[in-house]
Subunit: 389 residues, 4 copies
């Protein structure tokens, strides 16, 4: 039984909740680092008002005592800071009131789950859809991923990411060491390493905003320090690259995912794609390149894992799109719920988080163990096995 | 408990086996159609010798009686036709013999699971890796997908696919009705709709072969006739687009997957990306376009599902790549195991199969039921509910 | 993907938390009925002080709006009312303090998970084990089960239970209609139907308490109104009776479970055990008896489901048992943590709850559907199918 | 992702098939020992004709090469030796023929899944139910369990079992060392340790047979050599005793399961039930008794695991029971399909097998690892950790 988690909560409800199950005991939790991840998700040029009013914070209400995990499930809560304004609209118990007082939604927005969710769940108030399908939920997924990240860091596995494209502005390629990539993107308003690109993207976002439009982009996540052998080819659902693909595609608004050179692999020749195998006594087996992004046969090969995902523009628009009222079946121009023109930098943080989770899960499947001490010993074992191979 | 399956078997072992669990009773099996899918996988310009010698066939050895499913698990067997030549090399029981007689592999091929699998499973004969990690396994995954396809077809859901690119040759865009797309690609040696492109691709593959190289490509799968409401946004692992992403990425040699306009969504503006909602009494809700490829919020929206995947070039090469012998740690030029220069048309069929599976699984989760009759009644219910929404 | 749930929380932590995932939309929640189940768990002759101080209450913090489920995951919180006294001892973040201030436990109690949990998770403070392994967690499992129960009740499925034995005092057999059984046990301090037995059991518990000992017992759960066809024989893990067995055995302190006549089936002859099949046009197929407790081949047969479980005496004792200090390895007489002499009536409520969950899960697997309306239509379909069989 | 398996196949179909997924590499398979387990299942006083005609044998057709596992899924086949007589009746493809030629069953047998399965799956030929619901499937479950057993034996974990009761004849209690228990039960026609009991049981079975009746019984399984710490209390579905309960209850005809003293725990006082904790430097922690059957809090405590299950009499009867024809709705006396009067000794072997599986699964979850070498090292680690605790 692997690491697993469930989340609950609505965007304007009292809180987001997650239960993380299967974490080992004796992992020292860095609370500041945990909340730093939530902060990272909230930053980014182009975010709307909401990001300013809320300073998210993950509270742990189970599974951690005196700063360490106990092996018990970990309950995480991210409170919604403006819940006080929504207690009636989102009341758990029945209320009296007009549609307006309940802020009933009957006008589905294109590009959202509104209409499909309403049809599927037979809900005539589409607020019941949008409250859950909102990307607000990623706040708690980031908290979950932050726990996974702390587990991985204890074994020297580090995760970084960068924005590669926002709309028409692409960042130039770089091959920076991960540490530098992390420090530079952390300093950037749009999570890019290149300052000139940053300026261009900011200006571009300003323009998009002015046009009443929105824009998406491409983000990349890099995981370094992974041992050879996470994931497996033996069954389709053990392939770690495929699990990462699911995790990335499950992020709100993501429409594609690729590993290594990804779609470029459909153009190049075999002799240009594969990573030659080298060996030296100091480093063991290594590769001359990393076009396959750290995976062969669904298993990590010891090279950095490189994943890219594409986020579509946020569908909420000042510039309206045609839609249909579910009450009257009359056409209208789709309403605006929020005001972000670009959430790509935040999406970069979310992607790091979901990738961290999948890697941690595969890590625990590989090494077993119930306490950090036991996992450490098992991990060292395996390292020795690799050296003696 | 959902539809599920497991496969077993090695590329040169006696057989591939699959058990499919959770299929309803009273589905009439079209055996010819089942084997036609296996045949489709074997065709395609650029395949090597093996595809000719073996005419794959899926035998059912459980779960079907007198031509109909019974609700019991279905066991599928795809025999390996040249097993007779491998009975010693792949013997289940211990044999005496030299490394050569056992065809022991100690020279890992870049781009394969060989080395990583050997390290992970502590196997000194890499044949134990490559026999399972080989794409041969997709034969039985196609058989599994063919069952899913027959289930879906009973509800008017149809699946087609096409090759969009082979290496440097891209097919021009088309917007053909699915029927025509299917009949044209079926007639094509490279599964494209355009004859001129076909010729160019054939010539290109010939050249690649002559150069001792290999080439990948991009394939697309289209599913039509899906009801609104498969998959869900309520939890990350219920999103059907994400499950499809996992399934596609789990196909051997796939390095990327996208839905709808996919990576292009990172470039365009919101006003160019989202599909406006229309309504008429005859058709109910529909969309003015299908840029999102049939999904919003991880749920089907009634438009065709459009998925694309990229396959890297087959790593097996006449043109050698550097690698390292695991016995001696000496460098060598990687050996050749097989001779396909291009397997993209086959990959197109495999992708249809794994997508069919994920859709069928989500379909049964939505409609429940244990017999085809019961599912039909539930399905009709839901259709009525949608009409009355 | 089925109905599922996870729980988190410690016995003296701030709260118990559960996330319930997969519930349909548009189920009207009866909050009073939900909390009534928690109250039922707290009652019962023989409970210690804690049961008095805490009046448990389940708060919903996600997945329900204006009194109805939305299809989104439901988050449940049961606060710990005396958390204020434990904020230091159970602090999430690191604290300074002596072992005594931290209430560190180094003396494992026989019959608890203390020692095994400490060894497994490499925990030197056994409080980290006992806080999670405590039966306190059943409070939130009852809340989870209460949701399942409300789902089932909407389809006329009712669940009751009774205590059959407390230590040496067995209740006489009865064959009461479920309604009467429920009303009588609800009025009883020990959840028996027979008043004389109640008195005997109370006196027995008093004696046990006076002796500084503890006592367990046997409880029975009955589910009526189930349709034929929940669960399946087609795979070992689809058998509903077996899933119920797991659920019951997973209740703290349970050591056995039986269905129908259970262990008596090992003594009787076949002709005395099986339930003859009858038919009339009004009732359809029915049985002349219910020795098999509602199951044949792991599927419900339309007769009431009858499950029994045995609870061992609570290991916490005034009367000490030998154990070993994990610091000094010296023997000692096991300490007392709580003061319940008998928790069998509460266990009866917990058993109803976990059985309700398993039945609801199988129910949704059978009928599919995302909203109550859709499930209702599917259910009615199936009823018609049964009638026409 | 844990060890898992699926089975397929009908009692008169060509074969039973299983796929076992998640076994480590480099486990040396003892083929003779594997088939010995199948033979054990076939023996036993009171079995009918079929047991004589078929000598079951499990063939491996995937996942094992040159006598060792490779980490790939293992495919197992148990052929049905009299398939040749059933090729028409059980034909996979449609056949022409009368109901009689198809051996259509329309008369459901009480105590079987026949009627409920027919109603659930909307099957008018109940053969489609009984072919899968038959206990014949346990042949391949025994094969699956035999693999688990070989894994466990490599770590010194041994499994034995005994028959404790057949109908009215109970075996006297014994406290034999496991080795002796195994050798004595292996020599017994009814799998008891006591010769006099054996004679009584044989005579009893003869009488039952003569009376045209059938009889069940109680069986016990013992697992020795388990480390402390398999399973967990942290979540209801990680408790190993509960998983074992599901596995045992899922065996055909089982109606109850208990651990340790089981239902007796409802009668005794706490001071009589719990196992005191002892310690010595040589043995580490141990217990003064084993009333809890090796589990506290759902975790193994290092004492032998003791599980008992009850099997009801085989419902197939010479002595008829009333039932109803599904075509005519007319009452009839239930037909006879097979002729075993008592299958309790076989059930004892099946129970050992399913318990072995659950233990092996929990073992791999605890120790992780992909090869036997790696698991061994992890296991040794943990042993050292326990010693140093």
């Amino acid at each position: 039984m692997s690491l697993r988690y469930l989340t609950a909560g609505e965007t304007h409800g009292p809180q987001l909740t997650a239960i993380v199950e299967g974490m080992p005991s004796n992992l020292r939790i860095d609370f500041e680092a945990l909340n730093f991840q939530l902060l990272r998700r909230q930053k980014g040029y182009g975010r709307g008002r909401r990001m300013q009013i809320e300073q998210d914070r993950a509270d742990i209400v189970g599974g951690v005592r005196h700063g360490q995990t106990t092996g018990a499930p970990i309950a995480l809560v991210v409170a919604n800071n403006d819940w006080k304004h929504w207690t009636k609209i989102m009341n758990i118990e029945p209320i009296e009131g007009t549609d307006e007082e309940k802020r009933r939604v009957h006008r589905p927005r294109p590009g959202h789950a509104d209409l499909n969710g309403g049809l599927k769940y037979d809900l005539k108030d589409l607020r019941n859809v949008l409250e859950r399908s909102s990307a607000r939920e990623t706040a708690v997924r980031v908290a979950v991923g932050a726990l996974a990240r702390q587990l991985l860091e204890a074994f020297g596995i580090r995760i970084g990411g960068q924005v590669l494209r926002i709309g028409e502005i692409a960042a130039p390629a770089n091959n920076l060491p991960l540490d530098e990539l992390i420090s530079r993107t952390e300093a950037s308003s749009v999570r890019v390493v290149d300052e000139e690109t940053e300026k261009k993207m900011e200006a571009y976002i300003d323009q998009i905003k002015k046009d009443g439009d929105s824009v998406g982009g491409i983000v990349e996540c890099i995981v370094e320090g992974l041992p050879v052998g996470l994931g497996s080819y033996v069954q389709y659902d053990r392939k770690l690259d495929a699990r990462i693909a699911q995790a990335v595609m499950s992020i709100n608004a993501f429409k594609g995912v690729e590993i290594g050179i990804g779609f470029e692999a459909g153009i190049l020749r075999g002799s240009q794609v594969h990573d030659e195998i080298l060996y030296s006594e100091e480093t063991g087996y290594t590769r001359a390149s990393n076009r396959l992004g750290g995976f062969e046969g669904g298993i990590t090969n010891g090279m950095p894992v490189v994943v890219r995902g594409v986020m579509k523009p946020i569908p909420t628009l000042y510039k309206p799109l045609r839609s249909v009222d579910i009450d009257t079946k009359e056409a209208f121009n789709a309403q605006v719920e929020r005001s972000d023109a670009c959430a790509v930098p935040a999406a970069s943080v979310v992607m790091e988080s979901v990738v961290a989770w999948e890697v941690a899960k595969a890590f625990l499947e590989k090494f077993g163990g119930d306490s950090m001490e036991e996992i450490r010993a098992n991990y060292d074992n395996y390292k020795r096995q690799l050296e003696n191979y």
